[in-house]
């Protein structure tokens, strides 16, 4: 039974069937029970995601515990990570997510740390402005003109002192920037479609963990 569930054919059948029930009613107006099955499958993913949190907790604890016991590189951080994770879980389960103790831990440790890491970017950005934006060739000149124009447009004072910069900056964002963004978006979407086709034709079984298991076997 276990071998059957792990077999390529069984997993592929599930992938094809699930894809059919989700894709078909999305693109084509379908009679019942297809929309209901689609709705049930989509709703089920939310439940699966909730369980996936438990899986990630298990794998994180296992990985860090191994690192600590083997005294791997940076093992003290692993110890802190396990300690804080389980401390938050225990406090949260015992007192509830709205309790003062849980909120204190969140407000005192998680939020300032998270926000600080993001805010540090501004320091790096300015230092990089002085070091990286060097006019070495035509391409770097174009990059710099674009950067300065958008910076002046974004700064309220820049837009006020140089009124013509606003429309120029907006044009750059809405045309030049958009062209690049759309290329990226369309490329990513095409990549997603190719991946889906490869998955449906059984050429991308690594996604369901089959390839790594086979290598291990």
């Amino acid at each position: 039974m276990s071998a059957f569930i792990r077999s390529r054919e069984f997993l592929l059948t599930i992938i094809v069937a699930t894809s059919f029930f989700i894709y078909f009613p999305y693109f084509v107006t379908s009679p019942e029970p297809l929309p209901s099955i689609e709705s049930w499958l989509v709703t089920t993913t939310v439940v699966i995601v909730s369980f996936a949190v438990l899986v990630s907790l298990y794998t994180m604890t296992r990985r860090e515990a191994l690192r600590v016991t083997k005294r791997g590189k940076g093992w003290p951080y692993g110890l802190i990570m396990i300690g804080l994770t389980w401390f938050m879980i225990i406090v949260g389960v015992i007192s509830g997510s709205s309790a003062d103790a849980f909120r204190f831990c969140t407000d005192a440790f998680i939020l300032p740390g998270d926000a600080t890491i993001y805010a540090i970017l501004v320091f790096y950005l300015t230092s990089a402005g002085a070091r990286a934006f060097k006019l070495k060739n035509l391409e770097s000149l174009v990059l710099m003109i674009g950067a300065v124009t958008v910076l002046l447009k974004q700064a309220p004072l820049g837009e006020y002192l140089f009124p013509y910069i606003g429309p120029v900056g907006s044009w750059m964002v809405n045309n030049v920037g958009m062209a690049a963004t759309r290329v990226f978006a369309i490329s990513a979407t095409l990549g997603g479609i190719v991946l889906a086709v490869r998955l449906l034709t059984g050429k991308e079984m690594a996604m369901v963990g089959l390839l790594s298991r086979r290598k291990k076997d």
């Binding site: 230092s127 402005g129 002085a130 004072l157």
Partner: protein, 291 residues
Amino acid sequence: MSSIFKICATIDRRVWYALIFLLVGYGLLRPVGFPLIVGPEVKQAYAVIESLKPGDVVLINYDISAFGWDEIKGSALSMVPHIFSKEGVKVILFTDQDQGYIYLETTLKQIGSPMKGYDKFPWYEVQGKKYLEDYINIGFIPGFDKAIAALASDFRGVVGRTDWYGNNIEAWLDANGIKSASDINMIVTLDCAGAQGSWVNYWYLPYKTRIVNAMIGVSAPASINSYNVGMLEGIVVSVRGAAEYQYLSKYYGTALISMDAFSMLQFMLIIAMIIGNVGYYFWERKQEKVS
């Protein structure tokens, strides 16, 4: 003279860090009040929310985590009270981030006050709207895009019978005629992780639900893309957009105050680029040629 160019080329990065610290600190503590021009995107976002009619149902999504709160809070603290101020409009609060409920409650705490006879969440009154009468909080649903898709597919099934705090909300949903996603008139999504793409895919495309989006700077290109093709009705980009919205809606706050520091910082970035290039051309490049 060459020693000046050498200094320009080799300024210690800690000097830049100290200058940023001083400029931002000064700008925040002593705002000068530089003029602010409101852009067409923010005017449009404001007009869309202003157009809400009694009986409309708005779902506000908190796609907010700690890292982005300081950037998005200006939008949250001006757009949310603006929505709550619209008479007869019903509001559903939701978050697709595990930390989102913290910011959701922080917002309500700052713009509202506990209802008479209550002292804690969810019993808060905001702009005259009372909990379980005019608004509800369905809280966090895990899965991010999967949660947004599931809400579109089976709204009542995913929301369930109770709110984030365990109160029964079935009567409230029935009374406001909310049976499925098509009964929601507008989505306002405050994004730190770019949730607008999922709202567009699963709500705008099948139901043509109106979407207004405020986001942090890194999510802006994708949002501007969706806005330019008409899938988002209004966008509020980063702190600058939030400041413009605060100015328009008259819910003044930190975003508006921080605009002076923002201007100073942007100009400092440009000055840093100029100094770096002066040093590069008149000293560093010569050194490269010599070696």
